[in-house]
């Protein structure tokens, strides 16, 4: 299926889809911002400062999710020799990196009024910084190396090294004493965030995911144009 995929067919989707994704993004983001900045209640302890969460948490989730995805794509791409998977991974990475930076910056802005510091070398924050460095290495590798075979190998190694950090980020707040509080949203047990705050958070997550999808489609479209210009019908 993937070995014999036709760039032309996929190209017809990736060249048209971004417009509709953009429309949807504008709608969902507008609803999300109104919900989170105006309609949602203030927190009993942090009052309006809590609104930073509606940007911070979705950004962090997407940074982790996208890194997991590019690792999965790189590993399966390596095992089954699917070049296309590497191009999908390459197109996904920039938005993941941007969200990682957003999570770090908003975390810092949130930390000052609540904790009393811009930065703390605790396990959660440091491991998140390490993830940003892995993203940076991944993106730099694509710029530095020209030979496809070479860059596929190097980016695979970077993702395999980086993926070990992902569970560390997730569980750092449970394994060690950290300044960062434990997770509020749990799939298996009851969440410790009130539903009136959870709904805007989920809408904002959907909006950020749509943004990632939009950037991905545009980047991937560029990759396909490059292939077409080289006169290759198949990858």
């Amino acid at each position: 299926m993937f070995k014999h995929f036709e760039p032309n067919k996929i190209f017809s989707i990736t060249s048209k889809a971004p417009r509709y994704v953009l429309y949807l993004l504008v709608i969902v983001l507008t609803i999300g911002l109104i919900e989170s900045l105006l309609l949602s209640p203030e927190d009993y302890l942090q009052s309006h400062t809590v609104r930073i969460m509606y940007v911070h948490v979705p950004a962090a989730w997407l940074a982790l999710g996208i890194f997991s995805s590019i690792t999965f794509l790189s590993i399966t791409g390596y095992i089954f020799k699917l070049k296309n998977f590497f191009l999908i991974a390459k197109s996904l990475a920039p938005s993941g990196f941007i969200f990682n930076i957003i999570a770090l910056v908003t975390g810092s802005i949130w930390g000052k009024p609540t904790w009393g510091t811009w930065w703390a070398w605790d396990a959660r924050i440091t491991s998140m910084l390490i993830l940003a460095l892995f993203y940076l290495m991944f993106l730099m590798a694509w710029r530095i190396y020209d030979k496809k075979e070479q860059v596929f190998k190097i980016t695979s190694i970077i993702t395999v090294l980086g993926i070990i950090n992902v569970p560390i980020i997730k569980y750092s707040v449970d394994w060690w004493n950290t300044l960062h509080q434990p997770a509020s949203i749990n799939i298996l047990s009851k969440s410790t965030i009130h539903s009136s705050m959870l709904v805007p958070l989920l809408i904002m997550t959907a909006a950020f995911a749509l943004f990632s999808l939009l950037i991905f489609l545009m980047k991937y479209n560029t990759e396909l144009i490059k292939i077409k210009n080289k006169g290759l019908d198949r990858l």
């Binding site: 209640p41 009993y44 510091t117 396990a123 060690w176 004493n177 300044l179």
Partner: protein, 139 residues
């Protein structure tokens, strides 16, 4: 089904991930002292030698323990097992309150006495509107 090369590459990746995870686990396990951001009062009590270097102590601010004398703030950090008296002068974060989490950075003077150079507030993972909090407290 899949070729021999595919299976080999699969096990290769699998081995790399297992090996790296174990290595990272062992490194973090041996560095645990440095990975943790703060110690609890109970952990500080059992320190064999008096620490000269800067450490962080974290726990709850004991209820009715905050007092300010001559611009010097003093309070008690507790983990509900042991307690440590803290003195501090300087800026305090907004969320510093009795009964809430706190991390104090500074020097241990003796077993029960800590001189802080920096106070950080640590809040928990509960988020709710004020009305809900009031309703919960009424129960």
């Amino acid at each position: 089904m899949y070729g021999r090369k595919v299976k080999l590459r699969f096990f290769f990746v699998f081995l790399i991930i297992v090996t790296l995870s174990l290595t990272v686990f062992l490194i973090l396990k041996s560095l645990e002292e440095n990975v943790i951001y703060f110690k609890s009062p109970s952990e500080v009590k059992v320190l064999s030698e008096k620490q000269q270097k800067k450490i962080r102590i974290g726990g709850m601010v004991k209820t009715d323990s905050i007092s300010i004398v001559n611009k010097e703030l003093s309070f008690v950090i507790t983990d509900f097992k042991s307690e440590i008296n803290v003195v501090y002068s300087g800026l305090i974060p907004n969320l510093f309150e009795e009964g809430k989490g706190v991390v104090a950075e500074g020097f241990l003077k003796d077993e029960n006495f800590f001189s802080a150079t920096k106070i950080l507030a640590k809040h928990d993972e509960n988020y709710m509107p004020p009305e809900v909090k009031a309703a919960l407290e009424e129960k």
